[in-house]
């Protein structure tokens, strides 16, 4: 495990299937704590606030599994502060950053180290492939290497939901020793990494 970790999540706000979820009581009950629900009721843009909460919980979960292993995931067990600046889980607090763009919201949960991230609308390539390509473009100048020397690997790990461990960045086939996170939804892909000056 690296000293610092990162988790990210992107939501396509234009997805027709989620247009009315901010008015769906049962969905909100399933995802939000009572406190989050109160904050949602006060929000000026409830749809954006709900999906910011959702992305925050997903991002924090991705981070936490790298710190604690494959913990059970229930959205309500990840508690997002009203100001969207942190996510609390099992007594630990993780700094949170929410960014909103044209048609998307992106959440970035970390452990306090500086992180870099990028969001892009993909063109053509499959989502996971496009996210990995974006990560390469983000990481290459930071690591001062060619994007072609970087690749993302996921080891077989049956204890995880998809039987794969969290993604690891390899440089010339060796671990690059900085934590990464990838996300995609609809036409959007996102990549994040802990800046190497703060890695272990």
């Amino acid at each position: 495990m690296y000293r610092h970790s990162v988790g990210n999540d992107i939501i396509d706000l234009g997805e027709p299937a989620i247009l009315r979820h901010h008015r769906c009581e049962r969905f909100i009950d399933r995802v939000c704590t009572p406190g989050e629900r109160r904050a949602l009721n006060r929000a000026q843009e409830p749809k954006l606030y709900l999906w910011s909460l959702f992305a925050a919980k997903e991002a924090a979960f991705k981070l936490v599994v790298k710190r604690l292993g494959p913990v059970p995931f229930a959205h309500r067990s990840f508690v997002v502060r009203d100001d969207l600046h942190a996510v609390d889980y099992r007594g630990a607090s993780y700094p949170l950053r929410i960014d909103v763009g044209s048609g998307w919201v992106h959440a970035l949960a970390g452990t306090g180290a500086p992180v870099a991230f990028r969001v892009r609308q993909r063109s053509g390539a499959q989502s996971s492939q496009a996210a990995r390509q974006l990560l390469g473009e983000l990481a290459a100048p930071i690591l001062r290497c060619e994007p072609a020397s970087l690749c993302v690997a996921r080891a077989y790990a049956p204890e995880y939901w998809d039987a794969l461990a969290p993604p690891v960045l390899l440089r010339s086939g060796e671990p690059a020793r900085l934590d990464i996170s990838l996300s995609h939804d609809g036409p959007f892909v996102a990549a994040a990494l802990v800046r190497p000056s703060d890695r272990e």
């Binding site: 299937a17 049962r26 995931f73 229930a74």
Partner: protein, 83 residues
């Protein structure tokens, strides 16, 4: 209800939520809902709510977290609605 009947009902529930209809067409009990059928996590919450509605059951968070495959969903329903 038999597992085979429940399998068909789960397939019907998943249909509007999958981004991989071709995988759904050849799905088996061991097919992964997220990895194979490309049902994302937001839609998975919708799937859980749909199962609750259709079978008039209440699914706990920890039960929902255990649903990885179609077979897991069938087993979960069977646990609430015995055959």
């Amino acid at each position: 209800m038999t597992p085979d009947e429940l399998f068909e009902q789960v397939i019907a529930i998943l249909k509007p939520y999958t981004k991989a209809p071709e995988a759904l067409a050849v799905a088996k009990m061991e097919t992964s809902i997220l990895a194979d059928l490309k049902v994302n996590s937001a839609r998975l919450v919708d799937v859980v709510l749909e199962i609750e509605d259709r079978f008039d059951i209440a699914i706990k968070d920890e039960e929902a977290d255990g649903v990885r495959t179609i077979g897991d969903a069938v087993s979960l329903i069977l646990a609430h609605v015995p055959a």
